[in-house]
């Protein structure tokens, strides 16, 4: 209403032409219908999830009055309803993402419900691994046949839960099943990236897949647990490189799951390794270098590192102005740092210097770009590093206190200067 009024005022006063006015109207009406469609999808999925979960809870009451047969029949009702809805959605509403997504979501939830209810009706013992595996596998076709991204997200959650359940602590369950299951969702993910890179579903997939791999990488059979740090750092190096791909350049930072997960994860690992006691204990194991280099963790790390390096050079070839920041550099060259650390006494010193450097450089680039977030991230890195060193050195309280006061003043001054600069520029 107000837009219409504004337009007529502008038109009457000769600010815009008739044609411009009608183009503006058209633009806003298509934008509105797009956002309406989005709302339909969101509410459709939410509704399907709530109704599905509600039905499960009602059935889980385990109505004593009903016979075993009646209970079994009831267990199939949500499943059948979901299937009928899916057929209808595909038959009549094939073009409506809201219909496809919500019917598939409902069915995906119902599959788990019917299996769980069978377990309850027949007093079956708990077997979460095979339950999760069966559930996710039965739901996988929905991703492709219903073209449902929500089912895909549920599937990723399901296989992650399965991997955690079966892989931690180490079990005989073959670890590669998870990776095979993850591979099964990749065609959908890639299609999503090709067709709707900017959509929320793509962003959610970045986050879900990134987190799932981080959570599950540790199920690999390890020979030297400390080398999991190398394996994880390689993965995070790859994530950072993925997050720096040109496709993400225009994304908001919070939508760039790979860059955020990669940078944050790499920093956390570096903070952990800034403590000398860890390095000392690893040196004491006296594991020969050859055995370290041929351990499973390393064999998996090599191709991951190689892909990170490949992506870096690919980026560099396409855009000439690609620099490398210290965090990227550290994450890619981390295996070297690690092996220096386990074979000499300089591991912790090296890591501390690197973290300090990363902090200072981030601070500098933040203030150069006048980016408050980046600048404070740099300050935070330095602050955390100092706090970490407090715990393993015997500095007196006075020194610690003075350092904290200086740090606080630093935070205040840096932010104040930047804000003032911005204001004067305005």
């Amino acid at each position: 209403m107000s837009l219409k009024n504004e337009l007529s005022v502008l038109l009457n006063n000769g600010v815009i032409s008739e044609e411009t006015a009608s183009r503006i109207k058209e633009f806003y009406s298509t934008k509105k219908s797009n956002s309406n469609q989005r709302l339909f999808i969101i509410y459709g999925i939410l509704g399907a999830l709530l109704v599905g979960l509600g039905i499960i809870l009602i059935l889980a009451h385990n109505w004593d009055q009903l016979s075993r047969t009646t209970k079994s029949i009831f267990a199939f009702i949500p499943l059948t309803t979901g299937q009928v809805l899916c057929i209808y959605a595909l038959w009549k509403k094939s073009d409506s993402a809201a219909w496809r997504e919500s019917s598939a979501t409902f069915l995906a939830v119902s599959i788990g419900a019917s299996i769980a209810l069978m377990g309850q009706i027949y007093h079956l013992p708990e077997d979460p691994e095979s339950f999760l595996l069966t559930w996710t596998l039965l739901g996988l076709p929905l991703v492709y046949l219903m073209r449902s991204s929500m089912s895909s997200l549920l599937y990723i959650m399901g296989i992650t839960a399965y991997a955690v359940q079966s892989g931690y602590p180490h079990s005989d369950e073959p670890y590669w099943i998870y990776f095979l299951l993850l591979l099964a969702i990749m065609p959908h993910y890639l299609q999503l990236l090709r067709q709707k890179f900017e959509s929320s579903f793509s962003t959610y997939h970045h986050w879900f897949i990134g987190l799932s791999i981080i959570i599950c990488l540790g199920i690999l059979p390890t020979r030297h647990d400390e080398q999991l740090f190398v394996l994880y750092m390689s993965l995070l190096a790859l994530f950072i490189q993925l997050g720096k791909l040109p496709a993400f350049t225009n994304s908001k930072t919070r939508n760039n799951a790979y860059l955020l997960l990669g940078a944050l994860g790499a920093l956390i690992i570096l903070f952990i390794l800034s403590f000398d006691s860890l390095w000392v204990s690893w040196r004491l194991t006296l594991t020969p270098l050859s055995s370290r280099l041929s351990a499973t963790e390393m064999l998996v790390s090599y191709p991951i590192i190689a892909s990170a390096v490949a992506i870096y050079f690919l980026r560099k070839r396409r855009q000439s102005a690609v620099g490398i920041n210290l965090l990227e550099f550290t994450s890619i060259l981390f295996p070297i740092i690690f092996f220096i650390g386990v074979s000499s006494s300089s591991g912790a010193v090296l890591v501390n210097l690197l973290v300090l450097g990363i902090g200072i450089l981030t601070l500098r680039s933040g203030s150069q770009k006048e980016h408050l977030g980046l600048m404070n991230a740099g300050l935070l890195i330095i602050a955390i590093l100092i706090i970490c060193r407090f715990s393993d050195t015997n500095m007196s309280f006075v020194v610690r206190g003075v350092l904290f006061v200086l740090l606080g003043i630093g935070f205040f001054l840096a932010n104040y200067r930047l804000l003032k600069k911005r204001k004067s520029e305005e």
Binding site: H61, N62, L79, L90, Q120, Y122, L145, S171
Partner: protein, 194 residues
């Protein structure tokens, strides 16, 4: 059109698979309940903290402790097969344990090894039977659990689980305390309470 036909065929196959799994679970257990041989598993005292996990009563059995004089290194992750027999009081007991399924004319159940301890006589094993949960209506599970724990501790009371065994598969029928079904016991307690 051809694409659509293929799509619906695949969808049909997926739907059949979604039906098949719960249906086969039901069928297997119905078969055991129908054709199985009945065994009574005397219950063992339980840790009350372990009892309530929502809507079911966690069961423990005397027969789960089994000693044998072999030094075979049992794996915790692989199934084992427990041959069953009745003791003089008519309760189930495990008389043998094997890694391969016995022939079908012997009554046995598939079990998991939960713990293993070396003893002077060989080794004592703790078995996990495939029927350690008795699901009940949510309002009844807690009083039933208490009644069960009390009976399992009280040696004057006879508490056991009624289980049907068929070709290595087992299905839990009921939990009985002094000949009364746990279900009925809770209901009668409820009636008295009101």
């Amino acid at each position: 059109m051809k694409n659509k036909a293929l799509l619906f065929t695949l969808l049909g196959l997926a739907f059949i698979a979604q039906w098949y799994i719960p249906l086969s679970m039901s069928q297997l257990n119905e078969e055991v309940l129908e054709k199985g041989v009945e065994y009574r598993f005397r219950t063992a005292p339980v840790d009350p903290a372990d009892l309530f996990r929502g809507r079911y009563v966690a069961l423990r059995f005397d027969a789960a402790s089994f000693s044998m004089d072999s030094s075979y290194n049992w794996s915790f992750n692989k199934p084992a097969y427990a041959t069953l027999a009745e003791d003089s009081l008519g309760f189930a007991m495990v008389i043998d344990l094997s890694i391969e399924a016995p022939t079908d004319d012997i009554h046995y159940v598939e079990v998991q090894i939960q713990s293993r301890m070396e003893s002077p006589l060989g080794q004592s094993l703790q078995l996990k039977f495939p029927f350690d949960r008795f699901y009940m209506e949510e309002t009844k599970a807690k009083p039933a659990g208490l009644a069960y724990a009390e009976a399992a501790r009280d040696s004057s009371k006879e508490a056991y689980a009624l289980v049907k065994v068929h070709k290595g598969d087992a299905a839990l029928v009921d939990v009985m305390i002094d000949g009364v079904s746990l279900q009925e016991l809770v209901e009668s307690q409820k009636d008295q309470g009101h």
